[in-house]
């Protein structure tokens, strides 16, 4: 469903492949023949789809506000309300881990030969939600320009500005055409425009922190903070489903806030929820064992729980100490502790990004070697051991699990790691002030390796909070952004990962396997990490 060859000119399809994820051979069959995918319960014939009904899902964190351009807790709530110019293909025929870029509010685009000018042709007749004061007016180039400029405002709250900072100028050519000029060629642009952070909002003076009015498949109708959010279907959504009528299939859905993982599984078991995602492997296994009717999908996590090292702080400025920390770790044991018995080890780019990640076995300093770790510490002048302090939040608990496991393993090479739990406000301040030695944290999940590269490590990136600065690495990161040839870009990212394994600025450990668990009558559900969008557009209820 969704993207078909009909819509695309061959040239455009080539552009998409470049912008999305390189050669991506697995992208071809699903793009060409979605109905051929034998995805079990998830691949219905058009005639079988039942429309209507309301689904109930749970989420753990309440959004502080709804503004998609500012902040990260809003994304899971407004992702169904807004669309971007581009989007990653989601839905039941997309295997987890594949990232296929497709047109959304931009129907097609041209890229100039120098890679610096993008001309987007907008989809015509797309209407904003019929909610005052926008009241269902048509989305035009003015709204797109307004949104892009809004994303580029230099404001501490615009924490994802670096995703778009290369945009130099936005021009409205006509009602349905927008021209974007970049300061330099920038390969990740189309993928970054598919994130929630690039949502197209209506040009208006409303406070987007308090209202959410977009073009997306669902309209936010009503909400009680910390409790529940009610969405109804957008009757004039621009995209058609497999049955030839406008998406979404559901009449609406309700998102309830249940912070406690145990309470979420209980609610699912009791039939109060239709589905939930991101259940850690062991919890999901237990739930499925005791409830044979439930269905699930399993996939490796790509949050990559990790430890940031602040390299301004002695002794972490010494690469030998950082390598010793890395060599002291049994990463599989840590990943298993995170997942309750199973887990996946991640290098600087999570294994789940199959198109980009170098296998961990090929990276240096990632396999436990305590003798070498001790030798490196001795060479660095810490023969008698050393003491380090890691700051972390109490929740999510995966940081505590990771750091307690590291604590035990580091002890074996003479490193005494202390844990210091902080309140969220304190931790934010420490991060902004770069005032810590080690910090338990995780990476922002993304389909684009840029998020795991330039954003975290470039010496001039606002996302670099560990004072990382390495001229050779900076150069590689800059080249990774400018390279538009997929094969070349892949090679650069390989070099980046090898370099990072040598530098060990951020100690990545691993992730659990996660499960999406749903009731047997839930069809068309397929979790997708990309965009962190709730994958509910294609869901229908067989009851």
């Amino acid at each position: 469903m969704g993207l078909t060859a009909r819509v695309l000119t061959p040239a455009l399809a080539a552009v998409l492949a470049v912008g999305a994820c390189g050669p991506a051979p697995q992208a071809q069959p699903s793009a060409a023949a979605p109905s051929a995918q034998p995805a079990g319960s998830a691949a219905p014939t058009p005639a079988a789809i039942k429309r209507g009904g309301t689904a109930t899902i749970a989420f753990s964190v309440d959004p502080v506000h709804f503004d998609p351009h500012k902040g990260t807790t809003a994304q899971n709530f407004v992702s169904v309300v807004y669309d971007g110019l581009t989007q990653f293909k989601t839905g039941p025929d997309v295997p987890p881990g594949t990232h296929i870029l497709e047109p959304a509010l931009a129907e097609k685009w041209d890229i100039s030969a120098d890679g610096k000018t993008y001309t987007f042709a907008l989809r015509k007749g797309v209407k904003f939600h019929d909610v005052a004061p926008i009241s269902g007016r048509e989305m035009t180039a003015d709204d797109v320009a307004f949104s892009l400029e809004r994303m580029l405002v230099k404001d501490a709250e615009n924490i994802k500005r670096d995703l778009f900072a290369v945009i130099d100028k936005v021009e409205v050519v006509d009602k349905y055409t927008v021209k974007v000029t970049l300061s330099q060629p920038f390969a990740p642009l189309l993928a970054n425009l598919a994130t929630v952070f690039a949502s197209i909002v209506p040009k208006s003076e409303v406070n987007f922190k308090n209202v959410a009015i977009g073009t997306g498949p669902f309209v936010l109708k009503d909400f009680q903070r910390q409790s529940k959010y009610t969405y109804v279907k957008n009757p004039s959504y621009w995209k058609n489903g497999a049955d030839g009528k406008a998406l979404p299939y559901l009449d609406g859905f309700v998102q309830v806030i249940i912070p406690d993982e145990g309470a979420r599984t209980s609610a699912l078991r009791a039939g109060q929820l239709d589905f939930t995602d991101l259940l850690v492997d062991n919890l999901a296994q237990e739930l499925l064992k005791s409830n044979a009717a439930l269905r699930d999908e399993k996939f490796p996590g790509n949050f990559s729980v990790m430890t940031r090292l602040n390299v301004k702080e002695k002794p972490l400025d010494d690469v030998r100490v950082r390598q010793a920390i890395s060599l002291a770790l049994d990463r599989q044991a840590i990943a298993n502790a995170l997942g309750g018995g199973t887990g996946i080890v991640n290098g600087s780019i999570p294994t789940a990004l199959t198109d980009w990640a170098v296998p961990v076995a090929e990276l240096p300093n990632m396999k436990q070697d305590t003798a070498k770790a001790k030798q490196l510490l001795a060479d660095a002048g810490y023969k008698d051991g050393l003491k380090l302090t890691a700051v972390l939040l109490r929740s999510p608990q995966n940081r505590q699990i990771m750091l307690e496991a590291m604590q035990g393993q580091l002890k074996a090479v003479g490193i005494d790691l202390q844990l210091q739990f902080l309140e969220p406000a304190d931790l934010s301040k420490r991060r902004v002030d770069r005032n810590y030695q080690l910090m338990g944290d995780n990476l922002t999940p993304s389909a684009e390796p840029d998020t795991y590269g330039y954003i975290e490590y470039h010496s001039k990136s606002s996302g670099n909070v560990g004072n990382y600065s390495d001229p050779a690495l900076d150069q590689l990161l800059e080249r990774s952004r400018a390279a538009t040839d997929p094969a070349q870009r892949k090679q650069i990212f390989r070099d980046i990962q090898l370099k990072l394994a040598e530098l060990q600025f951020i100690i990545t450990t691993g992730d659990p396997y996660y499960h999406s668990v749903f009731q047997p009558y839930v069809k068309g559900f397929r979790f997708s990490f990309v965009n962190q969008r709730i994958p509910i557009k294609y869901v229908w209820l067989d009851k």
Partner: protein
């Protein structure tokens, strides 16, 4: 009658005193091969999420729990009793002032007060003892004061005053011995309360810090997330808290029965 509480308390005191000799494994040692495994012959109470022996951690955790309990109780009893006796005996303006301070402290829920104080002084073993002591002291002061009022009004105190005894002598020789029974009962209950406070504060992350085990912090954090699949991580430290507190509360009950003449002769 007092056999049960005495046996329980003796058990936990012995565990705490001989903890290093009794543990099967180093309570901090991790074994990646046995993460989150249920109770077995090798690990009688199972293992936790990073493969540490739960039994060894429960035994090791008795030290901070009982240690904080006894130390905080001592502090609370010394401060609370002194304030109570002085307040009850002196009366007048001193009593009025002290009791209004006690009133203010009693209006604040204990846990909220403890959290506020810990937020100011910072987490740590000594601050934990001090804070729990301060939180428990006002209640003790109030009860000791009322006992002191009764004792102060009795004939032998009046007689002592009549023969010219000084206040200090009256307080130490006549008042204190007659409120000791009450103080002993309060002390026993206070240990139980202090252990609960330690557990609660460690559970909330302001008490004993990981990886050092305490019953409270073993119950919190990842053990909670694992509760459905690996309940042994939280159930056994929880059981230890319950039994220890039960022991001290039963002892307090028994002592009260022994000391209270009105209950003498009743079952």
């Amino acid at each position: 009658m007092p056999k049960v509480p005495v046996a329980l308390i003796a058990l936990f005191v012995l565990l705490a005193v001989f903890a290093p000799a009794l543990v099967l494994y180093d309570p901090l040692a991790q074994d990646a091969a046995v993460q989150a495994k249920p109770p077995s012959g090798v690990h009688p109470l199972g293992t936790d999420y990073v493969g540490r022996d739960v039994l060894s951690r429960v035994i090791a955790g008795s030290r901070p729990s009982l240690g904080v309990g006894v130390a905080a109780m001592t502090l609370a009893i010394v401060v609370g009793s002194a304030l109570g006796i002085v307040s009850g005996y002196a009366g007048g303006a001193v009593d009025l002032l002290l009791q209004r301070v006690v009133d203010v402290l009693l209006t604040l829920p204990g846990l909220v007060l403890a959290l506020a104080l810990l937020a100011v002084v910072g987490a740590g073993f000594v601050s934990l003892i001090a804070v729990i002591g301060v939180v428990l002291a006002p209640g003790i002061a109030r009860v000791v004061r009322s006992e002191t009022l009764v004792v102060s009004a009795s004939g032998y105190i009046e007689a002592a005053r009549a023969v010219g005894a000084r206040d200090r002598r009256i307080l130490i020789r006549h008042v204190l011995p007659n409120v000791t029974a009450t103080i002993l009962v309060l002390a026993s209950l206070a240990i139980g309360n202090a252990i609960l406070f330690e557990a609660a504060l460690s559970f909330l992350g302001l008490g004993v810090q990981p990886p050092q085990p305490s019953w409270g912090n073993m119950l919190s954090g990842p053990a909670r997330a694992y509760f459905e699949v690996a309940p042994w991580m939280a159930v056994f430290p929880g059981l230890a808290v319950s039994l220890a507190v039960l022991g001290f509360n039963l002892l307090g009950d028994t002592l009260r029965d022994l000391f209270d003449p009105r209950l003498q002769g009743m079952a």
